[in-house]
Amino acid sequence: MNYTRDKKTLLTVYFACYYAVFAFFFLDSRLLSQYQPIFFNFNHDLTELLLLATGIPKWMIAHPASFLYADVLVLLTPTLLLGFYIKKGRFSRLLGVFFSFLLGFYLLLANIFWQVHPEPFILYVLLSAVFWTKSEKGFYTLLSGCRYYFLYIFVSAALWKVLRGGLFNGGEMSRILLQHHSDLLTGACDSLSCRVYIFLIGHPALSWWLYFGGVLLEASFLIGFFTRRRDKMLLGFAVLFVVADLLVMRIPYWTILMGGVTLWIGPGSRRSPAGSGIIIYETTHHENLPALLDLCEAHFNRVVVYLKNLSYENLSGKGSPAQRWPRTEFVVQETDCPNRVFIQRMFSFGKKEGFSHLHLSTLDNNLLFFAYKLWINTELHVSLTVHEVNEYFALFFASLRDVTESVAKRILHRRIRSHTMFLPAIAGRLQQRLPGAVAVFIPSRFYQSQDPGDSTPTPHRPFRVVIPGSVDPNRRDYEEAVKFFTGWLTRTIAPSRPIELVILGDSNTPFGARIIAQLQNLESPFFRLIHYQGYVPELVYERQIETADLLWSPLKVNKKSSRNSPETYGQTTASGLTADLLLNNTPALAPSGFELPEAFRPALLSYSSPTELNAIFTRLLEDKAYYRELRGQIHRAFSFFIKENFNDAFELLTGLDQKTKKG
C-alpha cells in the first residue's frame, strides 16, 4: 500500500472523470445555465422532495442567474480542493465536506430539472468523502467502502432483475428494446444498429440470452465481496458491461467506470503475484538488517518492516532508512504498544494485504505467540534469522516460561524450515540439528568501501583502536585489553605512535565503569581514551568503525546465551564483529579459536598470548608498508560481499528458487 501514490491515482482518476462528465454536460447543453429550466419534475425521491420543499428550486427558476452560479461553483470547487492538496500535501476537510455537499446538491437539482438520473454519479458523491479525511486509515476505509458500493451497484442490479421477474420473462429483452428504442425505430431504420435492434426484437429468445448474459455479468461482481484477488477481472467486466450497454441499449454509462478506481487502488488491490511481498519483523538486532533489506528490495515488489523506533533511527548510519530503502515501508512500534500487540498487528496486516512471505529477524521473548500465529497462518512462507543455534534447540523445563518456550521451539522447528545466519559455519551447525531444513549464510550488510589505495593516509595522527560492543563481561574479555595497554604504555621503549582507544559501546555499568577507570589511569600524550555511556547512535558508531585503524574484539569465544546455553562464537553464534568488519577494510584482532570464513580471513588477526598480541600491535604500528598491503588484501577479499553473490542464498531462503524453476 502506498498512501501517497494511491491518493494521487485517486485524485487523477476522480477529477479526470469528474471534468469529463461536466465537459459532456456542456457539449450536450445539460449544464443548468444552458438548460435554464422553467419547471421541475417530481421524481420518486424523498430527498428531492425535501429540496423542493425548501423552495430553492423554485427560487432558482425565478432567478436564472443562480444556475450560472451553481455551474461555476461545481466546476471551480475542485480546483480549490486540488490547489490545497498540491500546496499542503493533504486534503482540507472543510473543502472536502463542502465539495461533497455541493456535488450532491447539484445532482439533485439536475435530476429535478432535467432528469440526470443520479445512479451512476452516486459514487462521485461517496468517493468525495475521501477528501474529508487526513488519515491514511480513513482514506483506505472509505476507499474500501466505496469499492463495496461499486460492487453493490452491479450485484443489486442483478438481484432486482431476478426478484422482480424480468429474468423469468422470455420476451423481456425484446420488449425492453422495443420500448427503449421506439423513437429510433419509427424512422427509416436503415442504420446497422437499427436493423440489429429490429432483429433482436423479432427474436425474443435470442435477445433473452443477452439479458441473461447481462444479469450473469452483473451477478459476477458478488465475488468481490469475498476476495480482492479478482478485482482486475471485475474491472474488465465493468468495462465490458459499459460497452455492451452502449451497443445494445444506447446508454452511455461510462461515467460509472470512475468507481473502477476502487478496484485498482486500496488495501491489497495491487497485490503482487504470490511470492512478491515480504514482511520483516526486527526489534532487537537492526544492525543486521541492511543486507536483508537490499535483497528484499531486489526480489520483492513490496517490503514492509516492523521495527522499534530506536531500530528505525539507527538502521542506517548515513541518511534515513526511507531514503536508503525507498521501496520499503517501515512500520514503527509506538512506545506504548506492547510487543505482542505489535506482532498481532503485523500478522493482521500481512493477512489483509495478502503477503506471502514473513521473515523473523528475531523472536523477542514471544516464542509461544509466534508459534501460535505461524501455526494458524499456514500459507505464509516463513524464514528466521537464528542468532544462537544451541539456544534455539535447547529445551528447558525448570519454570513455566521454560516449558512454554520449549513447546514453542518444537512447533517453530516444524513450522519454520528456512533460516539465515551470519556465518557459514553456523548455517552448517543448524543443518546438522535440523536435517532437510534450509540454512543459508547472508552477511549483515554488503561491503561498499573504497579501495584503501585510493585514500591518502594522514601522517602523525594517533593509531585508532576501536573495541566495538557494549562493555559486557560475559561476551568480551576487557581485562585482557586493560592488561595489554598497561603493559604497552609502561614499556621502557616509548611507543612509536600515540594510541587512541575507543570503547564503542555502553559502559554505563559497574563493570564498565571499572574498566573505564582503569583505562583512564593510563591516559598520557601517548594514550587517549574515548568512551560512551548509553546507546551509541548508529551514525557515530559507523563513523568510529570506518575511521578505525584496528578493530579489536576481545571475545570470550565460548560464552553463555541469555538462557545459559553454551555458545561458541563463529560456530554456533555470530559476533557483531562480522557486521562491523564490512563497514570498511580495517583489520581486526580476535583471540584464537574464533574462526571466520575465507572471505573474512585476511582481516582477522588472531592471537593466543600476550606476546603474540604485542607482536601484532608492534607490526601494525611500525610497518606501514605491511599495514597498507593488509588493508588492500582485506578490500580485495571483502569485494566478495556484494549483493549479487547472495542472490542464490536469498532465493533459497525465501523459496523463490522454486518459483523460478517452476516459471
Binding site: I38, F39, H44, L46, T47, E119
Partner: protein, 165 residues
Amino acid sequence: MKWLLIGFIILQVGLDLAHSVTAFPFVHYGMFSESFDQPDSLLVYEVTVDSILLKPNDFRVYRWDMVQVPLAGFEQEQLGQDADSDQPKPGDSPALVEARLIYRSILPQQLENDDSLAIHFPQWYKQYLSRLLGHPVRTLRVDKAWYRYSNGRLQLLQKKNWINS
C-alpha cells in the same frame, strides 16, 4: 468511519427493500428489472423544427435525450395538474405519497410548478432547442405519435399535434 459505512450500507439495503421509493444518495439500480408486457402502443414525441423532423440518429445519445426529456417532463407535469395531484400515481410507494401529502400541507407553494407553465413552455422549449441545435428556431411543431409493433416494424396508429409555436 467504518460504522458510518456500515450504516450507509444498511440504509441502502433498506431503501432497496422499500422498492419504488428512494432518498438520494440511496438509490436503486433496478432499471429494466420489472417484467415487461408487450405494449399495446408506443408513444413517440416527433419534433419538427423549421419544417425538418429531428431524428435520433443525427444526435449524440444525450443530446437526443435533451430533445425528449423536457417534453416528457412537461407532459408529466400536465398530467399531474389534470388529475388530483394528491392522489397516488401508478408506481408511487405509500411512503412517497405520504411524504408528498405532508409536504403539500406544510409548503403547498413550493411543490407546485408555476400555473403559467403551459403558456410559457412552448416558447421556452423553442429557445432551448435553439441553444441545443446551435441556430435560431423559427417554427416548432411537436406531435404525439402512437405506434404499434407488428410484423417486424412499427406501424403508426395515431398522430396528434401537441405543440405549435
